[in-house]
């Protein structure tokens, strides 16, 4: 009998029904919701006159559109206040757990799920947000859905979903100093492009992946969607179990041991066949940064922006358009450009390890005078821990401005916008035109490279000042 992939094992165990020539009915273990993509789904439920089928399997938090200053005060912006209130109302009405602003568990959905132990191996998880793929780091099948599907989950705890194809990306070897998980995923996307993963669910494997911390694995899985893939996952191992142990909603005592026994079986069989398999060498990966307006347009910080001739003829027009938006010239070195803003945060790199990394780097140093540097912790718990570890003090001393938890300048729905024309080095996941504010120019990089840019004031290979 042919072997099964990890993805197959989890998926198949959650299929309630198969529709002939159609999608599968997939049972969802955990559903996360936030204020922006859920109101229309609740309205749909209300219109049908039904209640939420399994409210205990949904957890809510407002993150996308919350202010990141003065969170103890009523939200000033009217529409944002309305959305957040609507979420509260809907959760109260349907008996859904809500971690609202100022709750000790509040934060970005994809940060709080793992840190509270809600995310566990073998689960199916969805959220009306494409970066739900983050949770795949625990060996779960987790992916983003649209609002119609949020309504399906609220109504029946299931969604209709065609089964994606499977890809495995192996990264073997050891990452060199200064090269982080973010560089690994930016490197992969620069190789396979923003559509290379479309139609697939990716399993990341290989010694370089196994060597990553849970935070690092989350960063990698988080950005799976930027390659077009539905999601990414990594087989759980000791690193995973240790991370989960003792967290708020993790099983305890003998229940934990039993769970670990089960989780240990969650891996692709040796004979499992993937629809596509790619191999990369960790030694080839250097600190990366993007120069264009999609996450696939990334390169080594030590290198030049590609020349127009480097680009496939069919893609040259959009390449030129992208560089003209960024105000960059093809063929020039990426390093050395003057940076205006540094943003450390988001569900990609707003976790405690990211803040630690930045703090370690800037300790005893100061940001360049012309730089505005924002640090936005991914959650209340991250914020608290950063205070306790003295990270906050180090960052403030270095001239960074610490804000309160939320998505913030990752998507700039609230006031945290990069002004028009300004160049930002950001640890988030998207560099689309206007993503961080109308006319804002975004370069995606690791927290370490962002810290280096803040200190040097220009795009810098962090290894040069490590």
């Amino acid at each position: 009998m042919a072997g099964k992939t990890l993805f197959d094992k989890i998926w198949d165990a959650h299929v309630v029904n198969e529709i002939k020539e159609g999608p599968s009915v997939l049972y969802i273990d955990k559903h996360l919701i936030h204020e922006v993509t859920s109101p229309q789904a609740f309205a749909g439920i209300d219109q049908r006159g039904i209640s939420v089928f399994r409210p205990q399997h949904t957890v809510a938090t407002p993150d996308h559109n919350v202010p990141t200053v003065d969170q103890h005060l009523p939200i000033k912006e009217e529409l944002s206040r309305f959305q957040v209130n609507k979420l509260t109302e809907n959760c109260e009405k349907h008996g859904i757990t809500l971690y609202g602003l100022n709750h000790p568990y509040h934060g970005i959905v994809h940060v709080i799920g793992p840190e509270l132990g809600i995310t566990q191996p073998g689960m199916t998880m969805v959220c009306g947000d494409s970066h739900t793929s983050t949770h795949g780091a625990f060996g779960s099948v987790a992916f983003g859905i649209g609002t119609s599907e949020v309504e399906m989950v609220l109504a029946t705890q299931c969604i209709l979903q065609p089964k994606p194809r499977k890809m495995r990306i192996n990264v073997e070897g050891e990452l060199s100093k200064g090269v982080t998980a973010k560089d690994v995923i930016l490197y992969i996307i620069s190789k396979i492009s923003t559509s290379g993963g479309t139609g697939y669910f990716i399993e990341y494997a290989g010694s370089a992946i196994r060597g990553l911390s849970m935070e690092g694995r989350m960063t990698v899985c988080n950005m799976s969607i930027e390659s077009g893939a539905r999601g990414g996952l990594i087989a759980p191992d000791e690193t995973t179990f240790q991370y989960i142990k003792g967290r708020e909603f993790a099983p305890t005592g003998s229940a934990f041991d039993r769970a670990v026994e089960k989780w240990k079986k969650l891996k692709s069989d040796d004979e499992a066949v993937f629809d596509k398999e790619l191999h990369y060498d960790a030694a080839d990966i250097e600190p990366m940064i993007t120069y264009g307006t999609n996450p696939g347009m990334g390169t080594k910080i030590s290198s030049n922006i590609p020349t127009v001739e480097d680009i496939e003829p069919g893609n040259r027009e959009s390449y030129k358009k992208s560089l003209s938006y960024m105000d960059f010239e093809a063929g020039t070195p990426i390093a050395g450009r003057k940076v205006d803003y540094v943003f450390v945060g988001s569900c990609t790199n707003g976790r405690i390890e990211d803040l630690r990394e930045v703090a370690d780097f800037v300790k005893g140093r100061r940001k360049a005078d012309h730089i505005t540097a924002w640090i936005v912790p991914g959650s209340k718990q991250v914020e608290k821990q950063a205070h306790e570890e003295g990270i906050t003090g180090i960052l403030e001393e270095a001239g960074f401005k610490l804000r309160q938890p939320g998505c913030s300048a990752c998507l700039a729905m609230n006031d945290d916008k990069i002004p028009e024309g300004k160049l930002a080095v950001a640890t988030s996941n998207r560099n689309f035109e206007g993503r961080q504010g109308p006319g804002a120019r975004t370069m995606l990089a690791s927290p370490l490279s962002a810290a280096a840019a803040a200190v040097a004031g220009i795009v810098t290979d962090p290894r040069s000042i490590l």
Binding site: P39, A155, A412
Partner: protein, 197 residues
């Protein structure tokens, strides 16, 4: 939400020959603040369509009187980025019933289908042909026949078959709703829960 039944469409088209049109371009995040599904069409392609002072940019295709119709033709890898269904709502709300491209991002495709907006994926060659014939004559008619799964150019008669999941096709043609279906098998879902416990 029940969807309106989809029938054959014969219309002029609006060309947007740009690759990697992402969801942040389709509807920028700052316009995602409504709690209903309506009205997003107003801000469709907001930053391409309007300048900073809110004046329409004359050179953007949606502001041109030359092009109109219920078919939007986009470049390769249309709809990448976020899962925001608002992108599909905005396009639909603006009045489009069909989006044509040589490649769609997954979530966008699903969201479109869930909202009665038909994504038609054609070959790159055929896509170039569509752009050419719109350029030759902005009033050229394009026919999208969902039943036959065929898109054709009225003027030249050139046509191409497109794929769609048979279940989704049935839903669109009959205006079926996924949630009604799921609600109808609630018993089975409850049994599934018991069997796993």
């Amino acid at each position: 939400m029940s969807i309106v039944k989809f029938s054959t469409i014969l219309s002029t088209a609006v060309p947007l020959p740009i690759e990697n049109v992402d969801t942040d371009q389709i509807i920028p995040a700052r316009f995602l603040k409504a709690t209903t599904r309506e009205g997003f069409g107003e801000n469709l392609f907001r930053d391409w369509r309007y300048d900073k002072s809110g004046q329409p940019k004359a050179d953007f295709v949606l502001n041109s009187s030359t092009y109109s119709g219920s078919i939007l033709v986009g470049g390769k890898n249309f709809g990448s980025g976020s899962s925001r269904e608002h992108a599909a709502w905005a396009i639909h709300d603006f009045g489009f019933k069909v989006v044509v491209s040589s490649f769609f991002a997954d979530i966008f495709k699903g969201n479109a289908l869930n909202n009665g907006l038909l994504p038609v994926q054609v070959s790159e060659k055929f896509l170039a042909r569509i752009f050419q014939s719109i350029e030759d004559d902005s009033a050229t008619l394009i026919k999208v026949d969902l039943e036959k799964q065929e898109i054709s150019l009225k003027a030249s008669g050139a046509s191409e078959h497109f794929d769609i999941n048979p279940y989704k096709k049935k839903c669109l043609i009959n205006g079926y709703d996924d949630i009604d279906y799921l609600l109808s098998i609630k018993e089975k879902i409850a049994q599934f829960e018991v069997s796993r416990a």
